[in-house]
Homo-oligomer: 199 residues x 2
DNA sequence: TATCTAACGGAACGTACCGTTTCGATGGAG
DNA sequence: CTCCATCGAAACGGTACGTTCCGTTAGATA
């Protein structure tokens, strides 16, 4: 990731030093990646960033807030392409999501975030908000298919999003991100057929 | 749950005092239920149980081990009835699972356990084992339906178990255990129709 | 130019918890 | 009657949290 800065930063006057904020975010991500959630402490981040703890707490009110920031910085490169086939859309979505979680820091960070949300109220609310937003977004995939007649009328798109996300989450949280394409294909095929038949 | 014992227990000689073990397990469950995962510390459990920390560490090697023990003590009262209809079986399974997680300590405990598994290797392995066992068990529901011709030949029963569990997990971990029956019904109906159509 | 102000890194603090060690008392086993 | 593993309690060193001071820095203000 990033090398720890050689020299300590100093104040740049009566205003925030963006270098410090960047260094803290970089350090937080690096610590999370190298030591995992267990090693993710404010002290470790401060050491790594050559920053003072007060500097961190000046800008992030809690450990959960910093974790949330790092998590949101993860750019999502998920495949939301509209292939014209719901099954194919869902397959690409799930495959790319599991792949990204497996091959980039995103998976480790998201795992940490879900874990933190089980003990910290701020993180819990943030996770709920995020999940709601994802549900709506993924649901659009189903909306499109509905317009094409691939999905029966009574189906709630966010319900399908829950199924897909749930399938992904349980794989992430139990270290099973290496599911092969054929299995993913079978899973989405079942859902696609079920959606066609209607609810 | 349990009242803290009025008097401290003493040694009953050169053998383990089962009252202590019981009191510790009870206290651990009570702390987890009342203060959640955030408040679940060995110190808090020891205080609550009027036990010494060494007594806890003599019998449970780590915090994760105690958490695992408490978790496994949770009796599963999940509806695995064979109704003759896969859709109905799955509906009852999901409904009873979400209800139990919502209305008993089991949900809080399992949330904590999933969270712990994201930072503790022992808990992680235990969770993976448990998930595997559950997958096989829930898969039997699908096996039965397969024998009845409700499920196409190529379907992997454990894949269906992943779908159901994933759907339940994401609701547990994002505080959405209050999903109504109609929504659950729609979800399992989609899966049931998809399984009938085949993979 | 002189002063004000807010940011900086660093050090230290008090609290909490971890996992371990030590202690005296207990009471069953040999 | 002696041994000995157990008990609760207390204290240990270590780590991390979140906070408070400190002296330093340099832009903003007058």
């Amino acid at each position: 990731m990033e090398k720890p800065p050689e020299k300590a930063r100093r104040s740049i006057g009566a205003k925030r030093n963006p270098d410090s904020a960047d260094a803290i975010r970089d350090a937080a991500e690096a610590v999370l990646l190298e030591a995992g959630y267990a090693g993710f402490s404010i002290e470790a981040v401060a050491r790594r960033a050559r920053a003072g703890k007060p500097t961190i707490y000046r800008w992030w009110p809690s450990k959960a807030a910093l974790l949330l920031d790092v998590y949101q910085r993860q750019k999502r490169d998920i495949d939301y392409a509209d292939t014209g086939s719901l099954e194919e859309d869902m397959f690409r979505f799930l495959k790319s999501l599991l792949r990204q979680w497996r091959d980039t820091p995103a998976g480790s960070i998201f795992r940490s975030f879900v874990a933190e949300a089980q003990s910290d109220a701020t993180a819990s609310a943030a996770l709920a908000d995020y999940a709601r937003e994802r549900r709506a977004h993924t649901g659009q995939m189903v909306e499109r298919a509905k317009a094409r007649g691939e999905v029966a009328a009574g189906v709630d798109p966010t319900l399908v999003a829950d199924m897909l996300s749930g399938y992904a989450w349980i794989h992430l949280l139990t270290n099973r991100l290496d599911e092969d394409d054929e299995t993913i294909r079978k899973a989405v095929r079942i859902i696609a057929k079920g959606l066609l038949a209607g609810a």
